[in-house]
């Protein structure tokens, strides 16, 4: 059963169209991530689901109820804010009780709920403190506790980790995942961080310019992106895009693009591509990790093409090494394990995994 359905949702702020017909649905227990660059409309969408923004047109259903004109408090939702929005003059306990108090839930029921959630999140020692006396991570926990305590139908997270430092962010990400596995509540999670979206979500909606570009499982989003925007946004370092052409010079259809010094690269087309009309202009998308050093293991493998390229910059990160190479005028990033990493200035013999490469139509930007 779907616990959240959004149909053809639109939002205008004056003359500005912020959401241009969004369709999303979340099955019960699902973890949906809304991801996109700032200004893509993801936070507006979340605020509309919460009832904090009005709907211009379209429908929002929570469970089997259309909630377009239902007040936030009656939508059976809970929300965790980027700023945590803890009430500064109340203790943690009062913060957690406030929602139940507003709804007239009996005192002993409130107590039991707070005790349950406090032990779940291990925040019992903090209950008597005020938000000002908590660290960033503790505030984050309390904010989640306040949301959990009411046992709502739908959880909304608005960039909950972006105020934490890098290490804590990774820890809390794991915590949120554990928590979701334990309580199993339907969750909508807004983030601009594609790693958070990939690691947490059961399905990701990638948004750009007020539209959902692709709504699918993380694996599909990553490996079979719907268009150039999704391909470029998901993954870091970003996918390399190379203007190319389909030719059949060597008998088999292949992808051709110019290289430095007047040469051309000729990479055999993978069998999976249906439209292989010769002369067609395409954009070849290769993720950094699909470039590797030629070796007896890689060269013979089906779908593996070979070429070589000069290395401009090498950036070791410890676990892996990024290298910027020149494909003609274009800079292309490759991701290598440290032991096969190139040296600066080397003409690197590359194996390109064409079975994992994506082809896009330069006009429509869509994947072929």
């Amino acid at each position: 059963m779907a616990s959240l359905t959004v149909r053809n949702l639109r939002k205008n702020f004056g003359a500005v169209e912020v959401l241009k017909g969004v369709d999303i649905e979340a099955q019960t227990g699902e973890f949906i991530a809304l991801v996109g660059p700032s200004g893509c409309g993801k936070s507006t969408l979340l605020a509309m689901i919460a009832g904090l923004e009005t709907v211009t047109s379209g429908e929002i259903w929570i469970g089997d109820r259309m909630v377009n004109s239902v007040a936030p408090k009656d939508r059976d939702i809970a929300m965790v804010f980027q700023s945590y929005a803890l009430y500064p003059t109340m203790t943690v306990r009062e913060n957690m009780a406030f929602g139940m108090e507003s709804r007239g839930i009996p005192k002993d029921e409130q107590k039991a709920a707070i005790a349950r959630v406090a032990s779940l999140l291990q925040i019992e020692p903090l209950l008597a403190r005020k938000p000002g006396q908590l660290s960033g991570g503790q505030r984050q926990r309390v904010a989640m506790g306040r949301a959990l305590v009411r046992d709502p139908k739908l959880f909304l997270f608005d960039e909950p980790l972006s105020n934490l430092d890098a290490k804590l962010r990774v820890d809390m990400r794991t915590e949120i995942k554990k928590l979701h596995q334990r309580v199993g509540k339907t969750t909508v999670y807004v983030t601009h961080d594609q790693v958070e979206a990939m690691t947490l979500a059961s399905r990701i909606a990638v948004m750009h310019q007020g539209q959902v570009q692709q709504f699918d499982e993380p694996d599909t989003i990553y490996n079979r992106p719907a268009n150039i925007f999704v391909a470029g946004f998901m993954g870091s370092p970003s996918m390399n895009f190379i203007q190319a052409e389909i030719t059949s010079a060597s008998g088999t259809p292949s992808i051709t693009f110019p290289l430095a010094g007047g040469g051309v690269a000729n990479l055999p087309l993978h069998d999976g591509v249906a439209d292989r009309a010769t002369g067609r202009k395409v954009v070849l998308g290769i993720r950094p990790e699909h470039l590797s050093r030629q070796s007896p293991n890689t060269v013979g493998k089906p779908g593996m093409a070979t070429m070589s390229a000069p290395v401009e910059v090498v950036e070791p990160t410890g676990a892996e090494t990024m290298a910027v190479m020149k494909f003609g005028e274009l800079e292309v990033v490759g991701r290598f394990s440290p032991d096969e990493a190139p040296k600066t200035g080397e003409n690197m013999p590359l194996a390109v995994d064409m079975s994992r490469a994506c082809l896009f139509d330069p006009a429509t930007q869509k994947r072929i």
Partner: protein, 302 residues
């Protein structure tokens, strides 16, 4: 201690010494000037304060500005209950109480209303709310005398002419622009997310106001109360024009200082009367001053 490591060149020491002296001189100049102006500013208060304890004969003999030779409390009870104003020799007390009866409700009501309007104009914006706020701001710059005739007309119509309650009404309305401005500007600094979280938590307009907003707001409420209390207490124009006789507030009654019926000027009693009229705002500043400065300079809580 490793003396060797900090054995600095004597030239540097000299320069540091010179800089230190320059610093000292500039401090002396600054504090000297501040003290000088503080003395000038406090002088009237001292003169009046001393004169309220000096016998009239001594004032006549030694002049208005002099150190007291003797110390008497007589002038104070006289000023409180016998001082003659407008032919009535009942002292300052009833005017004092008039002012109290006016300033307490007017301060409380205008601050409360300003908090509510400021809350609406910052956290529950509606189409045109900025225009409403802009128009209210005009009230801050509007000279009070413009409203004199309209107020006289309205108070007459509703039967509150020459009444302390009439003045309460006048000051509530006249003060609303200021209290709204203060509160609205403070509330704007309170994160909107708090209100959103409370809305999702099921709290309505009033519950958010008194459970979330007000508990964060003591700094600005103190500022507003002090501002209103001293402003209304010291206000003179409305008191003297709209009310007369026994219904005037204390500032208006002090006019009598200049037209006392007797030929002898009772400087001792007059000084005490003036101090009685000035005491409440002085006390408010004395005890609330530091909150006032703190509240004005402090931003809202994150």
């Amino acid at each position: 201690m490793s003396d060797a490591t900090i054995s600095s060149a004597p030239a540097l020491d000299l320069e540091a010494g010179r800089a230190g002296r320059r610093h000292l001189i500039s401090r002396i100049v600054i504090y000297g000037l501040l003290t000088f102006f503080a003395i000038i500013y406090l002088m009237p208060l001292w003169v009046v304060f001393f004169n309220s304890f000096r016998p009239l004969a001594e004032i006549s003999a030694n002049g208005l500005i002099a150190f007291p030779q003797s110390f008497r409390l007589d002038a104070w009870p006289q000023a409180w209950s016998e001082f003659c104003i407008g032919g009535q020799c009942a002292g300052m007390q009833r005017y004092f109480w008039n002012s109290i009866m006016m300033v307490v409700p007017a301060t409380i009501i205008s601050t409360a209303m300003g908090a509510i309007t400021g809350y609406v104009l910052s956290k529950w914006k509606f189409r045109g709310s900025e225009i409403v706020f802009g128009m209210m701001l005009l009230g801050v710059f509007m000279p009070g005398q413009i409203a004199l005739l309209p107020w006289a007309f309205i108070l007459g119509k509703i039967g509150l002419a020459n009444s302390v309650y009439g003045l309460v009404l006048v000051h509530c309305i006249q003060g609303l622009a200021f209290t709204t401005l203060f509160c609205r500007n403070y509330f704007v600094g309170i994160p909107d997310d708090l209100v959103k979280a409370a809305r999702i938590d099921g709290a309505g307009f009033w519950r958010i106001f008194y459970r979330i907003i007000l508990p964060i707001s003591p700094p600005i409420l103190i500022v507003t109360v002090i501002w209103q209390f001293t402003g209304i207490w010291n206000e003179y124009l409305f008191g003297v024009v709209l009310n007369s006789g026994a219904n005037q507030p204390i500032t208006a009654a002090l006019v009598a200082l200049s037209m006392s019926g007797t030929t002898v000027r009772t400087y001792d009693v007059m000084s005490a009367a003036v101090l009685i009229g000035a005491l409440p705002p002085l006390l408010v500043y004395f005890f609330g001053g530091k909150y006032f400065v703190r509240g004005l300079t402090q931003g809202a809580i994150k």
